[in-house]
Amino acid sequence: MIQVEQLHLTFGAGTPLENHALRGINLSIPEGQFVTVIGSNGAGKSTFLNSLAGEVIADQGQIFIDEQDVTLWPTNKRAGLVARVFQDPLAGTCEALSIEENMALALKRGQSRGLSRSIRSEYRELFRERLSRLGLGLEQRLGDRMGLLSGGQRQAVSLLMATLQPMKILLLDEHTAALDPKTAAFVLELTRSIIEEQNLTALMVTHSMRQALDVGDRTLMLHEGNIAFDVQGDERKGLDVPDLLALFSRNKGEELSDDSLLLG
């Protein structure tokens, strides 16, 4: 259960570049829910995600994960509760390290690390088993450097890495945006099936309204640092992209072009 209360964040407060990025967001995500988040450029999607991850600390408001107040926890302290896949395929993995070393790093997410060997035969077994579901033959290439993999392969591995350990919420930051359409579809399908299988609580930021409706149980739209609309259940079923745009103008009283969202 993720609880966000009255979250405010201003970048560069008191300077000419002051940007009130989050303006009192309230959100509650029950366990096992898969939320998709849309919004145009500057709506606060990434900032919101970063504040959940701990990369930025909110000025006001609170974040609870399972009743625990994590508002002031830095990223590394939250890592046991929060797993994350980045937009940039280069960001979520270490290209200088091998596939198995990357996975060994992720296997210890949120746990203490000692002086015992980072890679053991039982870990290798686990990595092979997980990688084989991708059908990319990576299970034969455990010792290869991550840098040798394509962007799509790296995103798929990042996703496996993020889900090696249990977490309270999985954050997906436009993780298919940097991929070609075919690879993006593959990674999205992989995401959907892993979330379903492990019954994960997840929050996926996406640039595509289509994608936001195709997967998940609930869709939020952020606009100017707050939630413009929030649909789930029967209300969400059968919604199409034009319906979302209509929903937005009804709630906000302004028009929004499809392009600005698709490009955002």
Partner: protein
């Protein structure tokens, strides 16, 4: 080249192998340009020599030298991580401070170990030429350090340190306390350099406050040179390459100084080092440019 000059070069090559390990941890693993090395090398020498003159057991004195280097490195990284001072500047501040501290430790610009018991003393009774005994003991120490360092770098904590250096955002997202590991890594690096300084003082019979000048450049020369000639595919090979780089560097220097026809003298050492390092950095890029131009001509 005489046997004495040859084994002398091997000996200092092995010693600077320890410096190269330290430079490798800071520059390659953590991507932390650390000039503390120029201060922690004489620091290790000063601590070991001073304690030995005071009658300490030489191994214990050497251990204290490692601890002193460790503390110096921890200070540099702390200035960077906690006080947000740029890494290069933080290391220069520590290096400058160490110059005064080293003078304080020794109480004078240099300490001579005349007739004092060093870790090399017991070997005087062995049936070995004197120019062989020191390299033998030093290679044993270097071997132990090499094995421990490889073991550490493949451990959970070592892997986390490597991730910290190459992708700190990803490291944090996986629960790694990057600041703490940066401090530990730079401290370890300077602990190794302190060890090198302590061994150097004991094998040369003297510690001098100016002996650290250029240590960082020699260490870098070893790392870059080793990488240029050997494989760096696994962490063990990479660390081994640094050691070989240090030994070869010293041999090349010894050869150059021994060849009278070149006309080089001992005082040219730092100039040669600077030129060699520049060449080693530029050569791979020039090779790339050349092959590109050739492809363009076709």
């Amino acid at each position: 080249m005489s046997a004495i000059a040859f084994f002398g070069a091997i000996e200092s090559g092995l010693l600077f192998g320890l410096v190269a390990f330290g430079v490798f941890i800071a520059f390659r693993i953590l991507d932390f340009p650390d000039l503390t090395v120029d201060g922690s090398f004489p620091l290790g020498a000063a601590v070991a020599a001073t304690l030995i003159v005071l009658g300490w057991n030489p191994w214990l004195a050497t251990a204290m030298a490692i601890a002193a280097g460790f503390a110096a490195g921890a200070l540099t990284a702390w200035l960077n991580v906690r006080l947000q001072i740029m890494n290069l500047l933080a290391s220069i501040l520590t290096m400058i401070a160490l110059y005064s501290i080293n003078l304080r430790i020794m109480g004078k610009p240099n300490v001579a170990l005349l007739g004092d018991e060093t870790i090399f003393t017991p070997m005087d009774n062995w049936d070995l030429p004197y120019y062989l005994s020191a390299p033998l003991l030093i290679s044993a120490v270097v071997l132990v350090v090499f094995v421990l360092l490889v073991r550490f770098m493949t451990s959970e904590t070592g892997l986390a340190m490597r991730a910290t250096g190459v992708n700190s955002k990803m490291a944090r997202a996986n629960g790694i306390h990057t600041g703490r590991l940066t401090i530990l890594g730079v401290a370890l690096a300077n602990g190794l350099v302190g060890l090198a300084g302590a061994l150097f003082a004991q094998s040369q019979g003297t510690a001098d406050v100016t002996m650290g000048v250029g240590t960082i450049v020699v260490g870098l020369a070893a790392v870059i040179g080793g990488e240029a000639i050997l494989s760096t595919r696994t962490i063990a090979r990479w660390i081994f390459a640094c050691l070989i780089g240090a030994v070869l560097y010293r041999l090349v220097i010894a050869l150059a100084l021994n060849a009278d026809w070149i006309g080089l003298k001992a005082q040219d050492l730092n100039l040669i080092t600077a030129v060699l390092v520049t060449l080693a950095i530029v050569a791979p890029k020039m090779k790339q440019n050349l092959s590109k131009r050739r492809r363009g001509a076709q």
